[in-house]
Amino acid sequence: DTAVSQTPKYLVTQMGNDKSIKCEQNLGHDTMYWYKQDSKKFLKIMFSYNNKELIINETVPNRFSPKSPDKAHLNLHINSLELGDSAVYFCASSQGVPASNQPQHFGDGTRLSIL
């Protein structure tokens, strides 16, 4: 059983398109996250949700819109894709609130390539 699963694994699309990435966790965790890992492997938080409520919203263009239909799912929709959006996007989850000491469990990432 995959604990944190993301779809799709690979996403290749043209500049200007709109795309979505889905994430589901079966760990019963209360908090979910989206991270962006750039080509230099630098990892940066984008958003965090706790029980469907947005808790952390870092400086991310408003073309990126997270949606959490329930606490087991956190999807990421991206409008008007740009070349700089090419990266690996990771979903993660943890028990408790985002500021807790609980470790995060990561999915295997969605590799987004913008042509």
Partner: protein, 115 residues
Amino acid sequence: AQSVAQPEDQVNVAEGNPLTVKCTYSVSGNPYLFWYVQYPNRGLQFLLKYITGDNLVKGSYGFEAEFNKSQTSFHLKKPSALVSDSALYFCAVRDWGQAGTALIFGKGTTLSVSS
């Protein structure tokens, strides 16, 4: 503001030798400290964490880390490296006195273990 530094981009060790991956941090209060490992084309996996208490923390796969408050360091160690330990290692910190703050990751250190 909180930050974490991993001063080495790459660490090379021979199989069977001890390894150390360095991490220093900066927080205004008290830290939660974590180590994660990332294998190629995979998400991050939790190795160990320091919350409070004993300065020597033991984690998965024989790894351990020592919290040093005076040097603001949390170096990852293993007594005898394996080729399979070759991966990208991330140190991360959160200031537990700051509610709603994100986990901040270092830039990562690539560990290469030769046979």
